[in-house]
Symmetry: C2
Amino acid sequence: MVRTTRQRTAVAAVFDDLEGFHSAQEVHAKLRASGDSVGLSTVYRAVQALADDGELDSIRTDSGEALYRRCSTQHHHHLVCRGCGRTVEVAGPAVENWADRVAAEHCFADVSHTLEIFGTCAACRAAG
Amino acid sequence: MVRTTRQRTAVAAVFDDLEGFHSAQEVHAKLRASGDSVGLSTVYRAVQALADDGELDSIRTDSGEALYRRCSTQHHHHLVCRGCGRTVEVAGPAVENWADRVAAEHCFADVSHTLEIFGTCAACRAAG
DNA sequence: CCTGCATGTGAGAACCATTGTCAACAGGAG
DNA sequence: CTCCTGTTGACAATGGTTCTCACATGCAGG
Ligand SMILES: [Zn+2]
Ligand SMILES: [Zn+2]
Ligand SMILES: [Zn+2]
Ligand SMILES: [Zn+2]
């Protein structure tokens, strides 16, 4: 029996106003700053629950930190700016097929894949 | 001035006998078990140095742990078995081009990408 | 409306991979 | 062989994440 609490609602709401990927720590800080404070453990539990439900996508930093973002529900990948975090969802049917074909060639089953593209966006280049 | 030490040699040698990706902690344990013990900090420094030199590839676990493997030096991606860790290097020129094109379309520069495929190999399926 | 209670919360401790510290050590150039 | 400098490793510190558990609170069912 899953309950609707002020905390879970608040965490979900944070991602309404956010472009790009953000960590649980950042969400916690934003909530605290907005006066709508939520415990850190609860923020971790909430983002993980949202990610499990497919409400949030998650990726990992080079340093291993988990970042979350509200995305569309279809399968897609991300083009992420290293500077500002701005994120574009991209679809690549050809890539999906290629991955499945490669796996099949080597007799692998239950295939999944991760694919992210990183770069510097035009705005960040202009900003120097 | 980079020196050749027993420790660095030992760490590099561990990857000669290893298929698949392995963590610094695992390398440390293997060295200790083989009697050729090396300090944990030193193992971390060694694998990172090897990765910087392009001698090792690294990926990150779902839990954020860093894993290393000796790979060929050309650009490639990995098809990894979730069960046994067996890894196949795969090349996908079409994917490289697609990633660059997508990034260019959105005016992103300095583009890089990560792409890994996960599955279960035939041997692991047979083993149940 | 109440009440009961299973579920959710949060302050703080625990975890654990990784990194920093620094005194002792040991390649290797000269 | 010597000396200098890069290297090592026991240990402490970090930092993100998870666990603990006493307390609070949604939310059926009455
Ligand atoms: Zn997404
Ligand atoms: Zn940017
Ligand atoms: Zn590789
Ligand atoms: Zn396998």
